[in-house]
Symmetry: C2
Subunit: 254 residues, 2 copies
């Protein structure tokens, strides 16, 4: 079983959260891959450099200057902070962007009404490279950057990269996708930790949507989870990023 | 034969030079590894962020803020610009820092009178990882960063990384070290391209030093080259970074 684990970038900026996350990630048994974000760090650096962060529907418009920022932050600072931290725990982490080893080929998004700049939509994941690295005992740590094969790095959403990587690996080995976030799972009441829903299937999902238990941002998150499962991913777990190593935490989607 | 090729970071900032270098690097036959600098880019970013670049004897004092800058620039922007550029030429480049795959273990420099901050002196190169990547048809692109195994990235001179990598590989396979720089080689008259010395052995070196043909910064460069050869590296070539792919260019030290 391969575990593809995704976390947001906020954790990396918070030394306590990072320490907790790394310890929990180290507990995940078997083959594992980490995919991380870094949006908040990118916004902080952009601000320091006087570059305006333009967001449309939660997506970052990536002009030339912003591409440099995300390449530095995602591929450099965020990725290497995690890699060095995992190395200190005895995990042989190896950081990658989508350009490295031609890991994630993408094309520049041009088919949307809004011009997002240097943003890439994924065409192909080099799953055999990931399998080869895993078989060498390495732990791939992937930054949310792809490339177009023409010399350009492209900015790509970390959730998208996680699900594309999981779907590609699922064709070769049994794969579970773990989506770490700030809550303890899909909750009936987000303020009450005891209301985490242990598991959800498609029928449950329709019912929860109908009665309003699941709403807003959780809907696309779960829709993407079900899409991954329809594409061959064995299960998706949505849980607190600091508890990814606890296989019973959060909500199991299957 | 493995070719370990080192270039300064200035090339990456100059689009014309970068294009020329990448095309020349692509011509190098057989297994190859690229090690790049990025000091000038780091100084530019540090300046934009209001971080003072403190240099002592040409070495960068690496405080916390500067470590973040070099991690972003060396491990992120410089490394990924090269990797994406090589991918566009059909070379399956894969970028690494010393933390990735535990490639370069180092310890924080504490035994010098001057406190250099987060600067690492190399203890061990994971040459078997490099050989494994080369045997998979990959082209490792190494940023001048090491790690201490305790969770810290360390800033390490690119020339040092290049010679340590070459020496470690030389124990396993025949290895040549190619040091690209701004001149056409070791020259009798740096202003006259026709005065490049085609080859230098230790006896020649002593003579050239005695008569003043070789002086200043070229002396430590050649001393390091001879040290690499004494440690098993087959030959060292010092040449124009834009001509690394021409096996007859520059000065051969053997």
């Amino acid at each position: 079983m391969i575990h593809v684990i995704k976390i947001g970038g906020g954790i990396i900026e918070d030394q306590n959260a990072l320490t907790q996350f790394l310890a929990s990630f180290a507990k995940v048994e078997g083959k594992k891959i980490l995919i991380h974000g870094g949006g908040r760090m990118a916004t902080t650096l952009a601000k320091k450099l006087g570059i305006e962060s333009k967001m449309v529907d939660g997506r970052r418009i990536t002009d030339d200057a912003t591409l440099e920022v995300v390449t530095m932050v995602y591929g450099g600072l965020a990725n290497k902070t995690i890699v060095a931290g995992l190395q200190a725990l005895g995990l042989n982490a190896l950081g990658l962007t989508g350009a490295d080893g031609n890991l994630i080929q993408a094309h520049k998004r041009t088919d949307w009404e809004q011009d997002f700049g240097w943003v890439g939509d994924v065409d192909h994941v080099n799953s055999s490279l990931i399998i080869s690295l895993l078989n060498q005992g390495l732990v791939p740590v992937i930054a949310p950057l792809s490339h177009d094969g023409k010399g350009h790095i492209l900015n790509t959403n970390a959730d998208t990269i996680a699900s594309e990587v999981a779907k590609a690996l699922a064709k070769l080995e049994e794969t579970q996708l773990i989506l770490g976030f700030e809550l303890d799972g899909v909750m009936k009441n987000p303020k009450d930790a005891s209301t985490v829903i242990a598991s959800i299937n498609t029928e449950d999902f329709e019912n929860y949507k109908a009665d309003g238990t699941i709403s807003d941002g959780m809907i696309p998150k779960l829709e993407n989870a079900f899409k991954a499962i329809q594409s061959g991913v064995k299960a998706v777990r949505i849980c607190n990023a600091l508890k990814v190593g606890d296989s019973t935490s959060g909500t199991l989607i299957q």
